[in-house]
């Protein structure tokens, strides 16, 4: 296991190097000119030259890429082109907000959806199963944005159950996050329950389930002790791989509810051509995804003794 992990970490290096190079290439060669974006209509040649020098954009391609690699290794991505603030400060604050938005519905939603999926798979083939399948497919067909717009209008504005949008630090944030949590949970029900149901149905035909029932185990015991334990493996892998996306935030949700998370920061950076932020986000996402991919494989081996990492 140890050597496997070391080997995987070493394999990550060329992957991340490739991501960094591609990102850098795209933004430097094919990306927009951030200096003209910043200076706008009244840009004079002298101002363009001065700002390019200030941002280090007059350096050679190799030098700029080297500086970028140093930034990645030291986790110091420099300063925002837009505001001059340190990116580390911007990201620290943003990550906490994004996690407070995505983590609770992810955790509780997953648990809730597992229970619902178990319940539905128990009634496999019956009206409940068919109706719920239909409803979940319909709900999955509706755009995420529609959920946000409609529920914000109905539940916050029309009924006044929640604030329309906004954010305050600390525990005061809970009232602002309730509606986004509800929406995230609602949107995740369809795909999660469908996936979990498929996994459970796959397991319910197994011999060990038949054996458990034959031995007189109660249905809750069959579902929650025998079935769930074995079904947890694929559920776990699907769940862990989704964690990096919790950190990167729910872009559209953060915009509509004015939540100052990583997603909103990224969209603002894209609109303003703030390349340091965009480059940092791209590389960090790749790093997170690679790390959690590795973690998934390791957890898989830990949970299922039949799996041996080599």
């Amino acid at each position: 296991m140890f050597f496997y992990v070391i080997r995987r970490l070493l394999y990550m290096i060329p992957t991340l190097l490739g991501v960094a190079f591609l990102t850098f290439l795209l933004f430097t060669i094919f990306g927009e000119d951030p200096v003209r974006q910043a200076l706008g209509l009244h840009a004079s040649e002298e101002a363009i030259v001065a700002l390019r020098a200030k941002w280090g954009l007059d350096q050679s391609f190799a030098k700029q890429f080297y500086d970028f690699l140093v930034q990645i290794l030291t986790f110091d991505y420099g300063e925002s082109f837009s505001t001059g603030e340190k990116l580390s400060d911007i990201f620290c604050g943003g990550v906490l907000v994004s996690l407070s938005l995505t983590a609770p519905p992810f955790v509780f939603g997953t648990l809730f959806n597992i229970v619902i999926a178990l319940f539905i798979s128990y009634f496999r083939g019956k009206s409940l199963d068919k109706i719920s399948t239909f409803l979940f497919v319909v709900s999955m067909s509706i755009s995420y944005l529609v959920y946000i717009i409609v529920l914000q209008y109905l539940l916050a504005y029309r009924f006044g159950w929640f604030p329309i949008q906004g954010f305050e630090p600390g525990f005061s944030s809970i009232s602002y996050l309730m509606l986004p949590w509800f929406i995230i949970g609602l949107v995740s029900m369809g795909p999660d329950i469908r996936l979990f149901r498929t996994i459970f149905l796959d397991q319910v035909k197994s011999d060990y389930i038949r054996t458990a029932r034959a031995k007189g185990a109660s249905e809750p015991r069959v579902l929650f002790v025998h079935l769930l334990k074995n079904a947890m493996i694929p559920i776990l892998t699907n769940t862990v791989i989704a964690i990096p996306f919790l950190i990167t935030g729910a872009f559209v949700m953060e915009r509509y509810f004015a939540l100052p998370g990583i997603g909103d920061i990224t969209i603002t950076a894209i609109n303003e051509g703030d390349f340091p932020i965009i480059k940092a986000m791209t590389v960090m996402s790749a790093v997170l995804y690679s790390c959690f991919n590795l973690l998934t494989d390791v957890l898989y081996a830990l949970v299922d003794p039949r799996v041996k990492l080599s």
Partner: protein, 597 residues
């Protein structure tokens, strides 16, 4: 079965209307939120779509940063809040500056007793009085290329010696401004100074009203260094209480503010209640909270909920909430009139189409005339802007002196027959012709614009292709002349026709390469004149040249519209004073008043 009985199904919580478990604010009987006044304190809530890039006046020139800077700082001059056409008034000055006979020397007298807000950067933490040294320091800092990359054009080639100082700052970082003698900036005493201009230039006064020339204290820059961009110290109507990025930002009243509400306005202001607070000390509001709201839907919902003071109407919201009557006036829908008022104001933006005069095809004058006659801009406004716009007969928007209101209409009218005639004269009448329109955006709005233009030119046999560009690419293309035709727009830096006619002055045209000696000569004559019948005669000739040569086709100017809460008083849309918080208050007669959160 046992399992079925054991598993309880969670019931839906009964829907209860007006259940406010998680929401804040009280609701009145009509179900709308409102704020209660406490100790006569007025707290205004308004939206902002982005964060300020910086609160350093000399380093900013975007609208959001300008919003903050104007509330926290003051300029020597500003625009009268109520009068139209827009006119300058003294703010930090006792009176308008005295102009010498040769019009090259301006003498300024500062008001006495204006203080910066209290701050640790001052001795004992107490804000000191604003004096001449602060103004001269600010102007020099404005000229520093390491501080100001965006708005230097406002004073370039204007003040004697200031351009030389700017040259020095290219080589020297952290230049000591106190040691730099600029011949054009002359201190007389602590409250009096002169500015010597290179040549007569009354437009320089407009520059002194720009937010990037807000007066700052040297002590704040010295103490805070780079952090000065987040630590404002000004003389403004408010000071910054709380700076939470991408959340709520709070301004609190400066109790020692020196300005008073205007005592006069334009015709109709008194009847409309805009002079009810005449002479009162500003600001009228105790606190302003600016909520970060990047999307328009939640902004409109919050406004309808009574949580925001006013909101701009975009295309979709306009259709839901307002309509045009038979005479073309905009009105609010009846069910909304109890709670809101609607405002409309011609914008200070000119949209136009520009030709690259170096392009072999676009050089053809008859072709340009054909294209101009083929586009029905009135229809374009109806289709693409819900009718919220005004066609232009000159390059100057209607609310600025020197527009077609003063000199007449010199636009090219929509006329398909004439268009086809000019196509024949151009030599392209029988030949298929493809043109490329460079478009400065990629959103649906720009796609709709292209489709309209394509359909218009299709009627005269022109196959128009789009070249969509993002903003930086568009800027580069149009500045270096890498285009055939392009959509364009110009927002007034100051309300003077010169700011628009300079676009076609040969030294400024850059990419479009339009050059007309007669036009240049007339521009030189009129640029520094005050508005007068003589000036308008010169402008008329310039408009005639543009009508004849067609280097540009005038499109339209927008009708800026929005909604205001009925309980908000003194709100008069002023395009030059975009966020007039210091003038705003709440109606004491209304049942709906403002509360502190």
């Amino acid at each position: 079965m046992k399992f079925k009985r054991q598993i309880m199904f969670l019931c839906l919580i009964p829907f209860l209307n007006n259940c406010t478990w998680f929401s804040s604010g009280e609701k009145n009987s009509s179900g709308q939120n409102f704020f209660k006044a406490e100790d006569n304190k007025v707290v205004l809530h308004q939206a902002r779509s982005a964060d300020a890039k910086t609160l350093d006046p000399q380093a900013q020139f975007d609208s959001i940063s300008g919003l903050f800077v104007r509330s926290l700082y003051d300029t020597l001059l500003d625009y009268h809040y109520l009068k139209r056409p827009y006119e300058l008034i003294p703010v930090l000055l006792e009176e308008m500056p005295e102009i010498s006979e040769d019009k090259k020397t301006l003498t300024f007298k500062l008001k006495k007793g204006i203080h910066f807000s209290d701050d640790p950067c001052f001795e004992g933490g107490k804000g000191r009085e604003l004096v001449t040294d602060d103004v001269l320091y600010t102007i020099k800092r404005f000229a520093d290329i390491n501080v100001n990359a965006m708005s230097w054009f406002l004073l370039s080639d204007s003040v004697v010696g200031l351009d030389d100082m700017r040259e020095k700052t290219k080589k020297i970082l952290n230049l000591d401004y106190d040691k730099e003698q600029v011949k054009g900036l002359e201190k007389i005493d602590s409250y009096t100074f002169k500015i010597h201009l290179i040549e007569p230039n009354p437009l320089a006064l407009y520059s002194l009203a720009a937010s990037s020339l807000s007066i700052i204290p040297k002590e704040a820059v010295t103490k805070y260094g780079d952090d000065f961009s987040r630590h404002p110290v000004g003389t403004g109507a408010f000071y910054l209480k709380e700076y939470r990025k991408k959340q709520t930002m709070t301004f609190v009243k400066n109790e020692n503010y020196f300005m008073h509400y205007p005592k006069d306005g334009e015709l109709g202001d008194k009847e409309n209640g805009f002079l009810d607070d005449a002479g009162k000390k500003l600001p009228l509001a105790s606190e302003v909270q600016l909520d970060y709201i990047p999307e328009s839907q939640p902004e409109m919902l919050k406004f309808k909920n009574g949580e925001l003071a006013w909101v701009a109407l975009d295309r979709d919201n306009f259709q839901q909430m307002a309509f045009f009557d038979k005479s073309g006036e905009i009105h609010l829908k009846e069910d909304l009139a109890n709670d809101f008022k609607i405002y409309t104001e011609p914008g200070l933006v000119t949209s136009y189409i520009v030709f690259n005069m170096k392009d072999n095809i676009a050089q053809n004058k008859n072709l340009r005339k054909a294209i101009a006659h083929a586009i029905d801009f009135k229809k374009k406004i109806e289709l693409l802007s819900n009718g919220r716009g005004l066609t232009l007969g000159t390059i100057v928007p209607l609310s600025i002196g020197g527009s077609e209101k003063d000199i007449g209409n010199y636009g090219i009218p929509f006329d398909l027959e004439k268009a086809r005639d000019y196509m024949k004269k151009s030599g392209y009448g029988d030949k298929p012709l493809q043109l490329v329109m460079t478009i400065g955006g990629t959103t649906t709005m720009y796609q709709n614009l292209y489709e309209f233009l394509r359909d218009s030119l299709d009627k005269i046999g022109i196959d128009l292709k789009p070249d969509y560009k993002t903003w930086p690419s568009y800027l580069k293309s149009t500045q270096i002349g890498d285009f055939q035709m392009a959509t364009a727009a110009w927002t007034a830096d100051y309300p003077d026709p010169e700011n628009f006619y300079q676009l076609l002055f040969s030294e400024n045209t850059r990419g479009s390469a339009f050059k007309n000696d007669e036009y240049d000569k007339l521009y030189d004559e009129m640029r520094f004149m005050q508005n007068s019948p003589e000036r308008f005669e010169i402008i008329k000739k310039m408009a005639q040249i543009l009508q004849e040569e067609v280097p540009v086709i005038f499109d339209s100017t927008p009708l800026v519209s929005g909604l205001v809460q009925n309980w908000l008083t003194n709100f008069k849309r002023n395009i030059m004073v975009d966020y007039p918080f210091k003038y705003l208050s709440v109606s004491q007669k209304s049942e709906k008043t403002v509360a502190q959160k």
